[in-house]
Symmetry: C2
Subunit: 311 residues, 2 copies
């Protein structure tokens, strides 16, 4: 059994608020066909890949807010993505796609779905670390109301045996937290898929603005290295409804090295042939957790939420 896999990232440029699902899916199709031409077996679309990044606006009309959410799993019959997933299955390509999920009992999540090459469902993941704020902050030119429009995942991080490896998911802000990679690393994750929409401007501390690309790679590269896993970052980029988004999609090896990187802010496919067995170089040596970790020294990580400074 092969332990290699060709992974593609379908970076997306801006999605206008007026763009319909059908128009977006057309763009996803174009990238799918390009991925097929390049022998991709797993194609990773970004977070909230079917709509504009709507948490930048304050909505008072719930029906208007609802219009950005999917009420059924992408790919199921009758959805705008039915043909996309069907075609991917015909091509033997697995799909990772981020979307806003509205459940039947009206819970809202920032979710990603992952399908295998044969079209079967691998799993769904709901974002664990919801950034931004809950209330209208009029001083912001753009809101970041994820904490109003999404609930935190209750399931946390999971991994699945898929694509002949062990695969996990995280979404956007999850990637900044080392616990994200470590929890999945402690389930043997060999590949973690991460979609993101990251505004370049961060109103609470604009000194971070020029560092966004550096921070983006820093957290994913260190997560990959410190857990001996492949990490895939799929971005939305460009100027979307007047808001600049970080692109910089990339595929990162268990060494922490970037092996493929997007060079535009728009729709762009990148790909890499990844070898799951490369994870062993790290998981079985320097980061042999069974031999070297010291969980008894880490208790504060779960016993504390916020910092407790010394007296």
């Amino acid at each position: 059994m092969s332990r290699e896999l060709t992974v593609g990232v379908a970076q997306l440029g801006p999605i206008a608020r007026s763009e319909t699902r059908a128009e977006v899916v057309d763009r996803l199709f174009t990238l799918l066909h390009e991925a097929h031409d390049q022998r991709v077996e797993l194609l990773v679309y970004p977070e909230l890949a079917l709509t504009t990044f709507f948490p930048r606006w304050w909505f008072e009309d719930e029906a208007e807010l609802d219009s950005f959410y999917e009420t059924e799993d992408p790919g199921t019959p009758g959805t705008a993505t039915e043909e996309l997933f069907k075609t991917a299955t015909e091509m033997g390509i697995g799909i990772h796609l981020g979307y806003a999920e509205l459940t039947a009992d009206r819970h809202r999540y920032n979710t990603a779905i992952l399908t295998e090459r044969d079209g079967s469902l691998v799993g769904k993941f709901r974002k664990v670390h919801i950034p931004g704020h809950e209330d209208h902050e009029p001083h912001r030119r753009f809101q970041h109301l994820e904490r109003r429009y999404f609930e935190e995942s209750q399931e946390g991080f999971q991994v699945w045996r898929a694509f002949d490896g062990i695969v996990g998911m995280a979404i956007c802000n999850d990637r900044r937290w080392p616990e994200t990679y470590r929890v999945m690393g402690l389930s043997g994750a060999e590949l973690v898929l991460i979609g993101y929409n990251t505004p370049l401007h961060y109103p609470p501390d604009p000194t971070q603005d020029p560092l966004q690309a550096f921070h983006n790679h820093l957290v994913m590269q260190s997560g990959a290295y410190q857990n001996g896993m492949w990490v895939v970052g799929a971005a939305k980029g460009g100027t979307e409804e007047g808001c600049e988004l970080l692109a910089h999609s990339c595929i990162i090896a268990p060494s922490g090295q970037i092996v493929a990187q997007a060079v535009t802010n728009g729709d762009e496919l990148i790909r890499a042939r990844i070898d799951f067995d490369m994870c062993r170089n790290y998981k079985e040596t320097l980061f042999d957790f069974d031999r070297y970790r010291r969980p008894e020294a880490y208790r504060q990580i779960i016993e504390r939420k916020g910092p407790v400074p010394p007296p």
Copy 2:
């Protein structure tokens, strides 16, 4: 009260096995005087700064092994470092110094001591993550017998109020583990001091050899950023008894940016004026732990030592 501090790193070139404590201390003095000229208030010497990196050899003679350890705290009367610490106190310079500690009841630790500008003891830290191996591995040109020659710290990571900030310590391999920074970050650490001796050649996986400098900075930069803290890395560099050591000492801001970096493999002072209040840019925004962390999703980090893959 000022929340700024001038921190220096006293990187050391190789220390020969034949070098006496007095000869090494002469070198430490030279760097101390240079630090004083440059208005340094806290000077950070590396791990095991008083001897060669002796875990590279297999010792059967316990007296020979003992000769590399200190049986009293550095700086105490009668020790080889008494005058060094005394002079530092006269200069108003705090000292961080790594050394091999042999306790009265014959426990062995890889330890660092930290003193304040007035010479008072801030604290001692014993290495938590001991790398390498326990037994003689004759296939290695150099051994890495830290797991034979040092016990793991039982106290774990601590922080202290010192230098008008909150300061912690870690040693060498500790810096590769994100838990190190996080545990101290959860005690409000604003500055973490890390000495290291890192051989460039890693026999269990030599593909890592050309990446040593990259990995060294990657883990310290991500630890700094993800916890909004200053991180100081003090290296031993150069070819020591035929074994090449990574230099690349550095001072890293809470942004993850390197603000000062050694450019030689030898004895070299670097310094930076650090502002503890810069930590707030991160600790109170993106990494406001109280607001954004999800400890209930991190349980595996302490419940598991090694990975438990899915069935």
